[in-house]
Structures are given as structure tokens and as C-alpha cells.
């Protein structure tokens, strides 16, 4: 029974949850426990990062028997791509906990911890069934968080988002089973391990297309990619701050992660074949959601659309089939998670203080809360992609990647990326800077622990913008591995 560090990262929160449930701990005790747990996970993740070797292959592999009669293993491992997302989660979650410090009840913190376990489990799983296991189990705490602590028509929106996502994942489940059975028929043994099932060569083209889209729909719903976004607005605007933070900055990224981890190696030919369509779908999402964001009067809804708009751009990056686009997409995953996550947390604070999230009810906040405004601005500039932030680096790389694929895609994305972000400044001016008649004197400035929570995020945004190479070198071999070994494209 030897557990690797990855298992500890997955199961530590669950263990803490069991301890919390067994002991008569109140909301405050649960919060402290959750915070300490997240710090411990950060330390563990740092250990993984420092011991991660400079290569593009799976590391920290762990392998245990689970359902032996069908060859299903509890197998974990990480490569450069999952490493970066792990570091992102490990850094963001303790910071976010500092801003969610007033979190209401024990149940809230228990569910937050469970979500963390689900996310890391999804990230490490190397067996399709295990991946599905975590992928679906992760929905439950989200369902609870929105339903119990949300606002507005929370019950309807939580059932809607759960049913919507489960629909996608159930079709993926059938695809996974189909792949497993095909492997059995071709090789005579059962296996659902990723490194095994990529060897299947017996698929006909129509089978491959069905399976490809079975996976893509599950991930597209999670991202959400146009036209699977209809759950998005209601869910984001009715979620509690913690829930919307996790949904937008981390769980949406798992959809992108799923595409890279599973769809790319399983169907490399189709991936290349359909890539141009998805590049354009991503750009379309960028513009469409950008325009939708422009129309919103509710800040939370505006950020929800803006988030979807950037995720469309990330999809453009990963389908661009070259190192620039892929690196840019990975970079934007980080930049967007940090900036959007922090913005949602800040808006949550504003909503908590002022009981409103409508732009027309706000104004003059810069005077009331200067530090708040400063952080708000840094995050905003990162979203917009101002040079000097990591938002700029990532958007620049994706545009280069789009050029590499099709010159027209590059031109359109270069022209629209700024336009799509312009609504941010407009909102910033109306809601934060400008003086209005609205009474915003209840707005409190950030206190010390909130500053401590946001400072690392702001620091990283700028550091990654100025010295991107420091953060890129560990993932370069992985990206080369994906492009050269899996997609068989020459490195650019």
C-alpha cells in the first residue's frame, strides 16, 4: 500500500472532510481546516513541481488494481500540461479561500474541499474510467454549492447545469465503454488505460467521428463552447462567489484539458482534420460572447460572457496545431483563471457589501476603496491583454498560432481580441471610477488578508507577463511531445 504524492493531493481534502464531519466543528473551524488543507496541497504541489523532470512524458506514475475483471486500474500520472494546471489550482485555491473568509457554513467548506479533490483527481487520472469517475463525481459538490448557497432561482439553475453536464458526460461514458470494448476485441484483453487505448487501429471512419464528437460534446459543454453555453449565464449569476470562482477559473479549464489529454491522442487524424473548424468556432465564440458581454448591465453576467469569450480563444489556441498557439492557450488558461477568478471574487465582495451587482447601481467605488480598485484594475488589464501582463503574452501567442494555421484566422482574431475586451474599460469606468448619485458608501476596502490573498495573483500576472520564459520552460517538452509524437506535426 504505497501511495504516491499525487494520491495524497487527491485524497487529503476528502480525508479532511471525513474528519470535519466526524467532529462537531463549526463554520469557522471548517474554514480554518480547509485553508490549512489548501496550503498543504500547495506545498505538495510545489514538491511535485520541483521534482518534475524536464521531459514531455508522464511522471509520478501510480498504478493499483481496481476492477480487475475489466482491466481497470487506479492509475495516476502527470505531464507538463497537467503540472501547470495543478500549480494553478494549488496557488489559486488558498488565495481564494482568503477572500471567501466569511464563508457561511460547514457544508460550504466541506463541498469546497470535495470539489478540490474532484478537480485534482480528474487532472491526474490516466485511466478513462477513473477519469470519468472523478469527472462526474466532481459535479455533486458543485450541485450542492449552487443549490444551497446560490441566489435567485438557484434550484432551477443548479438542476439545469447538472442535467446539462451529465448529459454530455453520459455520452462520453458510452464512448469510453465503446473504446474499451474495441480494445478488447482487437487485443483480447480488457484495458481502459489511456496509453493502451490509443493503440486501437480497428475504428472505421464513421466510428471515429461518432466517438470524437461524443468526447467533444462533453468537453464543449464544460468549457462552454458555442452552442453549448445556454446553461452558463443563469448558473454564473445565481452561483455563490466561491462556486462561480471554481466554475469559471478552474472547472471550465478542465474541459480544455480533457480535449488535450484525451481527444488529441485518441483521434489525432480527426483532430487535425477538424482543427480549422474549431479554430473558427473559437474565434466566433470570442466575438459572439464579447458582444453579449457588452450588452450586460449585471457585472457578474458580463464577466460570465467575458469568461466564455476567452475560453473560445483558448480553444482557438489548442486547435491551432502549432507550438505558438498551444503555448499561448496554456498561458491563457493560467492568465484567465487568475484574472477572472480574482475578478469574480472581487465582484462577490462588492455584491456582499452593496447588495447589488448592476452597473447602474454602482459608481464612485474608487474613492471608497482605492486598494480594491487597484487590484480590480490589474486583473482587468490582464483580461484586456495589456503588454506587461501575462494576458498580453498569451493572446499574442494565440494570434501568432492562428496566423500559423490560417492567415485570415490570425487577422480576424488580432482585430477582434481588443474590441471584444473593450467593454471591460467601459464597465470599469461606469461602475468603479465615475462618481454617480448612487450611494456606495457601504463599500469597504480590502482588509489585510484579502490583500494577502490577491497580492500573489497580481504579482504572478505581472511576473509572467515580463518574464514568460521562466514559467514556460517546464512545459515546452510536453508541447513538443504533443505536436511531434501525437499529432505528427513538425515542430515550428
Amino acid at each position: 500500500m504505497d501511495f504516491s504524492i499525487l494520491s495524497v493531493i487527491i485524497f487529503l481534502p476528502i480525508f479532511v472532510v471525513f474528519v470535519l464531519l466526524a467532529l462537531p466543528v463549526g463554520a469557522k473551524g471548517s474554514r480554518n481546516a480547509a485553508f490549512v488543507t489548501s496550503i498543504m496541497i500547495f506545498i505538495l504541489a510545489m514538491t511535485v513541481y520541483l521534482n518534475f523532470e524536464f521531459s514531455g512524458y508522464m511522471q509520478f506514475i501510480e498504478h493499483h488494481e481496481w476492477i480487475t475483471s475489466y482491466g481497470i486500474y487506479y492509475s495516476l500520472g502527470i505531464d507538463g500540461f497537467s503540472l501547470i494546471i495543478l500549480m494553478l489550482i494549488a496557488t489559486l485555491i488558498p488565495c481564494a479561500f482568503l477572500l471567501l473568509w466569511n464563508g457561511r457554513t460547514k457544508a460550504y467548506w466541506v463541498n469546497m474541499l470535495l470539489i478540490q479533490s474532484g478537480i485534482t483527481g480528474t487532472l491526474f487520472a490516466q485511466d478513462l474510467i477513473l477519469f470519468y469517475f472523478f469527472w462526474e463525481a466532481m459535479l455533486l459538490p458543485v450541485f450542492m454549492i449552487i443549490g444551497m448557497f446560490g441566489t435567485g432561482n438557484r434550484v432551477f439553475s443548479t438542476i439545469k447545469v447538472t442535467v446539462y453536464t451529465i448529459m454530455g458526460s453520459l455520452f462520453m461514458f458510452i464512448c469510453i465503454l465503446y473504446i474499451g470494448v474495441s480494445f478488447f476485441e482487437e487485443f483480447g484483453v480488457w484495458s481502459f488505460a489511456l496509453q493502451d487505448v490509443v493503440k486501437i487501429s480497428s475504428f472505421t471512419r464513421s466510428e471515429e467521428i461518432w466517438l470524437f464528437f461524443g468526447f467533444m460534446i462533453a468537453f464543449a459543454i464544460k468549457i462552454p463552447l458555442f452552442p453549448f453555453h445556454t446553461w452558463l449565464i443563469q448558473t454564473y449569476s445565481n452561483s455563490p462567489t466561491g462556486g462561480v470562482f471554481l466554475l469559471s477559473s478552474i472547472m471550465a479549464k478542465l474541459g480544455v484539458y480533457g480535449i488535450v489529454r484525451f481527444v488529441m491522442p485518441l483521434f489525432p487524424d480527426l483532430y487535425i482534420e477538424f482543427a480549422p473548424y474549431f479554430v473558427w468556432l473559437g474565434i466566433f465564440g470570442l466575438i459572439y460572447f464579447g458582444i453579449a458581454a457588452l450588452m450586460q448591465t449585471d457585472i457578474k453576467k458580463m464577466f460570465a460572457y467575458s469568461s466564455a469569450s476567452h475560453l473560445g480563444f483558448i480553444v482557438t489556441g489548442i486547435f491551432s496545431l502549432n507550438a505558438y498557439g498551444m503555448t499561448g492557450a496554456l498561458f491563457l488558461i493560467i492568465a484567465h483563471a487568475m484574472a477572472t477568478g480574482a475578478l469574480f471574487l472581487l465582484v462577490g465582495k462588492m455584491e456582499y457589501n452593496l447588495k447589488s451587482k448592476n452597473i447602474s447601481d454602482l459608481g464612485g467605488i474608487a474613492k471608497q476603496a482605492p486598494i480594491f480598485t487597484l487590484f480590480f484594475m490589474i486583473m482587468l488589464l490582464c483580461i484586456v491583454g495589456l503588454p506587461g501582463t501575462n494576458g498580453f503574452v498569451s493572446e499574442f501567442l494565440i494570434i501568432l498560432g492562428a496566423f500559423g494555421m490560417q492567415a485570415s484566422a490570425g487577422i480576424v482574431s488580432a482585430l477582434t481580441v481588443l474590441v471584444a475586451a473593450s467593454f471591460m474599460f467601459w464597465m470599469f469606468q461606469r461602475a468603479i471610477l465615475q462618481d454617480t448619485d448612487n450611494d456606495t458608501s457601504n463599500m469597504k476596502d480590502l482588509d489585510l488578508k484579502e490583500i494577502i490573498g490577491l497580492a500573489p495573483i497580481a504579482f504572478l500576472i505581472i511576473a509572467m507577463g515580463v518574464y514568460p520564459d521562466w514559467f514556460l520552460f517546464k512545459i515546452e517538452p510536453t508541447i513538443q511531445h504533443y505536436l511531434v509524437d501525437i499529432l505528427q506535426i513538425k515542430a515550428s
Binding site: 476492477i67 475483471s69 465503454l177
Partner: protein, 502 residues
């Protein structure tokens, strides 16, 4: 070997003696309901232990006809019957433990109830042991007749009596099909013994066997009626809804296992060579069962009726694997057995918790009655949620593993389209199962709920079932000496193999 025969038959004998003892005891007024339940449990435990002894003592799979001089080949004892009897006994024990409080609370129940209960357990156990069609009919009727009476036991309630009569009339009609089918089969094969019919079919494979196929179809109709598949599902809502909750749980979960135990043996051994004939029919029936069951489950407002209607959907999942038996016998049969256990655990837990809440005044428990349930009774709500998740097949519960086996078997057999339809039904089921969770957790409790006691053996049993469900979903081989998820399916495979040693 005479001495071995009696050991083989011991579980059946113990239950039979128990049933007769309970009938005699019921004349003594000093025997309370509680005592009666404990005596019955004692008999069931002894039977279970002797049954497990049989399963365990032979490390390899076994098959034998006990007292072949007396019974000829009417009764068979093999790993298959042993495994099924263990599940049935386990199910009966759990039903009694959970139902005890309900039985105590409602004054109409007397000690005779336990006699009937044990007789129906006997009938079910006999059903998985029979190797001959007429004996099969007798076993089926022993189980059913006791069931009819148990449903109508609370004679003061019209609803119970109505349900009892409805089931009696329709169930007898279905039974007649079985007899008619048997006589058709006898007319052509000159035998009613399972195995010999199979040999006959094997010898004449390729020729038309109209009588055999008609007979088989009629037996299939009885089977479809008893498991409430489309188009024979109409009785199930009213009968299950009208029955007292412990009896509903017993019928929905345990009785279904016994029926499948009998029919799987019949189909696998006898109709192996002519099974293709029913494939198209079953294909349509499976889809219709899933669709109609889902529709019924969505429109219910009462929790009990929702659980009952969703049991039709679960029948549909089982039929998906049942139709796949023709192509991949072993994995399909073992997936059916596993799913039966998975469903039985989740359903009995769900019915159990609902039975704790129902009191004399309110026979209908609607979704609204559960508003804010979690804030008043956090443990019960958590357990009920786990049962719902397991029924919906969400990972980390045994229901997920069950669905995994069923759908994998269907895809392996080439019925990918059925797997997809099954997935759509699962997706719909998420709605009505999650609705209950949402209602329990997301609403403040509106009125002061009367304090319903939740203690004693019943609550411990439900807690145990919850642990079993979660363990069945995640348990693995990490903890040695403790059976994980593999255990049940491996046992199911062994019992499948034992069908073919003759």
C-alpha cells in the same frame, strides 16, 4: 452421498421449518411482533449461514441433484443457486430489519405475517433451485400467493385490499401462461426438465419447432409480467403503491432477483439454441420499457410512486443485458446478477427511509413533504441522497459499477444502440432522482415536522447498506482480505459457469 444432500438442502429446510413454526407461534398471544421478527430473523440467519457454508466449502464450482432417488432432477443445488439464495436471504434479512419499525407501528400486522414472509422467501429460494418447469410453477406460486396476502394484510385500508386483488387476478393470469407454455413444451419434448429440453432443442436445431417456441414465448410472458416490463407494467404502479412499504421493497428488489434467477437458468440452459427468435421482440420491449418507465417516473409527485415507476426503468436496464445474453453469455449474465444486487441495495435503502417517514395519517408522501428534510434530519437525508445517486448511477456508488457492467455487455454484444437508449434513460433519471436531493437540501423546512424516531436496528441496517453501496462503488483490492468490487462479479461468473456442469 446422502449426508451431503441434507447439507445442500438445509437452507431450504430451515426456512420451511421457520415458516411453519411462525404459523404455529402466531396462536400464542405472548409472541409480540418484535419477538416474531426476531425468531424469523434467526431462521433466516441460520439458513444464510448454512447456505454460505455450502458455497464456501467447495472451493470449486459445484452442481448436484440432492436425493436424486426421491426428487429425480427436480431440484438442483449448484454455485448458481447458492449464490442467488445467499442474495435472497440477505435481502430478506435486510427487509425485515428495516421493516420492523413499520410493522410495529401499524397495529394490523400480526405474527402470521412472518409466516407468510418466510413462505415467500422459501418460494423464491426454491425458484432459483428448480430444475423442472412444474416445480418452477409451484415455487412461483408459493412466493406469489404469500405476496398477495402480505400486500392486503392491512385489511382496514381499501387501498391495500385493492392492490392485493389486482395483483392476485393479474398474477394468476400470468401464471396460467406459464402452465400453458409448459404443456406446449411437454407436448413436443416429452419432458419438463431443464437441460433435457435444451438437449431436445439442440438436437433439432435448424428445424422449425413451433410448439417449443410458442411455449417458450408464453413462459417469457409470465417473466415479463413479473418483472413489470412493457407492455405488462400497468399493474405495478398501483400494486406497489398500494402495498405496505416493507412489502413493496421486498417485491421490487428481492422478488425480481428470484424471477431473474429462474429465467436466466431456463434461458441459458434450455433455449440457448433457439434464443435468436425472441431477439427482435425483446429489443422492442426493452426500448418501450425504458421509455415508458422514464415517462411514468417523471410525472409522479409521490416519492413512493416515483421509486416504483423508476423500478420499471431499472427492469429496462436489466433487459438490455438480458437481450445480450445470446451473444456474450457470461459477461451479460454476470452483469445482470451484479445489477440486481446493486439495484436491490439502493432500492431497499430508499424504500426503507421512506417507510420511516410514512405514518398512519399520510399514505402519500410527496416531493413537497421532503422540503428542508436535510436541515431537520441530516443523516437520513445524506443516506437517502446516496441511494438516489446510486439509483441514478453516479460514480462512487455501486449503481455506477452496475451500469458500467450492463452497458459494457450491451456494447460487447453489438447492441450499442440499446446502450445509447439506456444512457438517455439514465440521463432522464438524473432529473427525478436529483429533484429529491434538491428538495431535501435547497429549501428551508417550512413547517415543524413531527419527530419520527429513527433509531434501533432499522437505522443501523440502513447505515450499513449505505456503506455497502459506497464500498461497492469505490472498494478495491487495496485492502486485502476484504472483498472489493470484484468480489460480486467474480462470484457471478463462477455461478454462471456452474450452470453448465451437468
Amino acid at each position: 452421498m446422502e449426508s451431503n444432500d441434507i447439507v445442500y438442502l438445509l437452507p431450504l429446510l430451515v426456512v420451511m421449518i421457520g415458516a411453519i413454526t411462525m404459523m404455529l407461534l402466531s396462536t400464542f398471544s405472548s409472541v409480540s411482533i418484535k419477538k416474531g421478527a426476531y425468531y424469523s430473523l434467526m431462521f433466516l440467519f441460520v439458513a444464510l449461514i448454512s447456505n454460505l457454508y455450502n458455497l464456501n466449502s467447495s472451493s470449486e464450482i459445484y452442481s448436484s441433484y440432492p436425493y436424486i432417488g426421491i426428487f429425480k432432477k427436480m431440484i438442483i443445488v449448484d454455485t448458481y443457486s447458492g449464490y442467488f439464495s445467499s442474495i435472497l436471504l440477505f435481502g430478506a434479512i435486510l427487509t425485515l430489519l428495516i421493516g420492523l419499525q413499520y410493522l410495529e407501528k401499524h397495529k394490523e400486522f400480526t405474527v402470521e405475517f412472518f409466516s407468510l414472509f418466510l413462505f415467500s422467501v422459501l418460494g423464491m429460494m426454491l425458484l432459483v433451485h428448480v430444475n423442472e418447469l412444474i416445480t418452477g410453477f409451484i415455487a412461483l406460486e408459493i412466493a406469489s400467493l404469500s405476496m398477495y396476502v402480505m400486500i392486503g394484510f392491512q385489511k382496514v385500508l381499501d387501498k391495500r385490499v385493492e392492490a392485493s386483488y389486482r395483483y392476485l387476478v393479474l398474477g394468476s393470469l400470468a401464471g396460467i401462461f406459464f402452465l400453458l407454455g409448459t404443456s406446449f413444451i411437454y407436448a413436443v419434448t416429452q419432458t419438463t426438465t431443464i437441460g433435457e429440453i435444451g438437449e431436445f432443442a439442440q438436437n433439432y436445431v435448424g428445424t422449425d419447432m413451433p410448439l417449443l417456441i410458442i411455449g417458450g414465448t408464453m413462459i417469457l410472458i409470465t417473466f415479463l409480467f413479473k418483472i413489470a416490463a412493457f407492455p405488462f407494467q400497468n399493474w405495478v404502479l398501483d400494486v406497489y403503491d398500494g402495498a405496505p412499504l416493507p412489502v413493496t421493497a421486498f417485491m421490487a428488489a428481492t422478488f425480481k432477483i428470484a424471477i431473474f434467477g429462474f429465467v436466466l437458468r431456463l434461458v441459458l440452459v434450455d433455449f440457448d439454441s433457439i434464443r435468436d427468435f425472441w431477439d427482435d421482440m425483446l429489443f422492442v420491449i426493452t426500448i418501450a420499457t425504458l421509455a415508458y418507465g422514464s415517462f411514468l417516473a417523471i410525472i409522479q409527485t409521490s416519492i413512493k410512486r416515483m421509486l416504483v415507476a423508476s423500478s420499471i426503468v431499472h427492469t429496462g436496464y436489466l433487459l438490455i443485458a438480458f437481450i445480450s445474453i445470446g451473444i456474450i453469455g457470461e459477461s451479460a449474465a454476470s452483469s445482470i446478477i451484479f445489477y440486481l444486487v446493486a439495484y436491490f441495495l439502493s432500492a431497499i435503502g430508499a424504500f426503507g427511509i421512506v417507510s420511516f417517514i410514512s405514518s398512519d395519517e399520510r399514505l402519500r408522501i410527496t416531493y413537497d413533504d421532503f422540503k428542508g428534510f436535510a436541515h431537520v434530519y441530516p443523516y437520513r437525508a445524506a443516506m437517502l441522497s446516496i441511494f438516489m445517486l446510486s439509483l441514478a448511477g453516479i460514480p462512487s456508488t455501486i449503481g455506477f459499477i452496475g451500469k458500467f457492467y450492463i452497458f459494457t455487455a450491451a456494447i460487447e454484444a453489438g447492441y450499442t444502440i440499446l446502450a445509447v437508449i439506456g444512457i438517455i434513460a439514465t440521463f432522464i433519471s438524473v432529473y427525478y432522482y436529483f429533484k429529491l436531493i434538491a428538495i431535501m437540501y435547497f429549501y428551508p423546512s417550512p413547517k415543524i415536522v413531527e419527530d419520527v424516531p429513527f433509531s434501533g436496528v432499522g437505522s443501523i441496517t440502513i447505515g450499513l447498506i449505505t456503506i455497502l453501496i459506497v464500498w461497492g462503488g469505490i472498494g478495491n483490492t487495496l485492502i486485502s482480505y476484504f472483498p472489493g468490487v470484484d468480489f460480486l462479479i467474480d462470484m457471478a461468473r463462477l455461478s454462471y459457469e456452474s450452470l453448465f456442469i451437468r
